[in-house]
């Protein structure tokens, strides 16, 4: 299985898109760290960019890659290789290249300017978001037969997680503001990997002091060992569930 992943990785790493993505992340991180005096402010700005860009690029890139590799996947299917292995190798190759792109583009500046707790959780969030959205993109591309529909579906999902979901949460909070909603919002945040990533980093920063009682409660939870376990566990679920679902569809699919 690793053999195929290796070649997929080689192929992607040489593509211009992935080089441009790495350079973009690197430039943004570097300039933010240079512009802001305070490295935690820089991390906050960087966080906001990462939360938008990483899921978007991961989804679009994966979807386009999948459809471009369609005939190649067919050829692999004519080899003595199981479908499970083929899809997992593709996932391995794509996610590995996107993660390395992120770790080079953002990881190096973070290690240089802010090698602390907050910096590392930023890297953790970015890496897991890459894996989550690559996995989601595999699910949508395996499900949708043609490229246009696949990309449309991927964009819609990204739109939902990055923008619409927050609006819905605000709506809920606003309508039920008379009730204690701390626990409920904790659950709601787990339903969106982007929110989960945002909260887990924000609470490691000083800004969380501005968030009042809810912030204190969150800080208590996410700062504790079980909170970290919770974040990692939910992220893992977000990676594994769509991938497992994609594998199930792929196993029965006609190619």
């Amino acid at each position: 299985m690793l053999k195929l992943s290796k070649y997929v990785f080689y192929d992607i790493v040489r593509s211009k898109v992935i080089l441009a993505y790495t350079a973009f992340l690197f430039l943004v991180s570097f300039s933010l760290f240079n512009m802001e005096e305070n490295s935690s402010k820089a991390i906050l700005s960087l966080l906001n960019i990462i939360l938008i860009v990483v899921p978007l690029i991961s989804m679009i890139f994966t979807t386009i890659h999948y459809y471009n590799s369609y005939e190649f996947i067919e050829l692999m299917l004519s080899q003595p290789m199981s479908r499970r292995k083929i899809l997992l190798s593709e996932y391995g190759g794509v996610s590995l290249s996107l993660v390395s792109s992120f770790l080079i583009g953002v990881g190096i500046p973070v290690l240089l300017y802010s090698p602390d707790n907050v910096g590392f959780s930023l890297l953790f969030t970015g890496t897991s978001l890459t894996l989550v959205f690559t996995s989601l993109a595999f699910l949508t591309s395996v499900k949708a037969r043609d490229k246009a529909r696949g990309i449309g579906f991927a964009l819609l999902l990204w739109f939902y997680f990055a923008l619409i979901y927050d609006g819905l949460i605000l709506l809920v909070l606003f309508n039920f503001s008379d009730y204690p909603l701390e626990k409920a919002t904790l659950v709601l945040s787990a339903l969106n990997p982007i929110d989960l990533g945002r909260i887990s980093i924000m609470l490691k920063m000083d800004v969380s002091a501005l968030m009042g009682y809810t912030g204190a409660l969150y800080k208590d939870f996410f700062g504790s060992g079980s909170g970290i376990l919770f974040t990692v566990g939910i992220m893992l679920l977000w990676i594994l569930l769509p991938l497992w679902w994609a594998l199930r569809i792929f196993r029965k699919k006609d190619l």
Partner: protein, 259 residues
């Protein structure tokens, strides 16, 4: 070698394959022919396990095909459209497949790689290759592992006359090694010298599966194209397709193409 029993595949309401029964043996070169959309590629893909049939069974060496991919180590497949990862180099592709199949060195057949001159372009990325060159790569890959079964989907489409001749010679050579070869093609004159059996599909149905000698006898025609045309016209399968086929044949016989 391959036995197909009551194979049925539906795409929505349309029958892509409708109750196909056939048996392919070693040493046979079977030409799958029929108009576009008659189910030729679907049949091939069903044998390769890419398309999951709705009903019926396929046996490979008396073993039912049901998801275990190991039987495919005995099949070399040349797809209709060969598209490969853009930045992968030609040499890498061959290396990768050899890595996957893990076939001993003495079972590797590099004849087509050498005859097509692919060695010289081993360090070129796939995206720079022309359609015909990609087709040559596909062909060389199909023959690389000296497999007992060869499945070739439109092998000569897009190849120049010289390469097409090289490929045909190679197919003849493999035929003499007592292999089972399945070919789909619309260029019947290419099949003439190769084939031993004709399998004619129409709208997913197997119209006939005959030995070429028998076919020639029945129709009194020596040329495959004419023989099939006679049968089809007699039974009125799809006259439009026949006319087209004759166009191709006439072109082939025109002085412009004579060698």
């Amino acid at each position: 070698m391959i036995r197909i029993e009551q194979l049925t595949k539906k795409f929505r309401k349309l029958f892509a394959l409708n109750d196909i029964n056939a048996q392919f043996k070693k040493g046979q070169v079977i030409s799958l022919i029929g108009p576009n959309g008659s189910g030729k590629t679907t049949l091939i893909k069903a044998i390769l396990g890419m398309v999951k049939a709705d009903g019926g069974k396929i046996y490979f060496n008396d073993e039912l095909i049901n998801g275990d991919p190991s039987y495919r180590s005995q099949i070399g497949y040349m797809p209709q459209i060969g598209r490969y990862p853009d930045n992968m180099r030609v040499g890498q592709l061959f290396k990768m497949l050899r890595n996957i199949r893990k076939v001993p060195e003495d079972k590797i057949d590099e004849e087509l790689i050498i005859k097509f001159g692919l060695k010289q372009i081993f360090d070129k990325p796939m995206r720079t290759l022309s359609g015909g060159t990609r087709q040559k790569v596909s062909a060389a890959l199909a023959f690389l592992f000296d497999t007992d079964v060869l499945i070739l989907d439109e092998p000569t489409a897009g190849l120049d006359p010289l390469s097409s001749e090289i490929l045909k010679e190679k197919i003849l050579k493999e035929k003499s090694k007592n292999k089972l070869i399945l070919i789909t093609s619309h260029i019947l004159s290419d099949l003439d010298e190769l084939t031993t059996h004709i399998m004619y599909l129409q709208e997913g149905k197997l119209e006939f599966f005959k030995e070429i000698g028998q076919l020639r006898e029945e129709t009194g025609e020596l040329k495959l194209g004419k023989a099939i045309a006679r049968i089809m016209k007699g039974e009125k399968f799809d006259s439009e397709w026949i006319d087209k086929m004759f166009e191709i044949k006439d072109e082939k016989n025109s002085p412009l193409r004579s060698e």
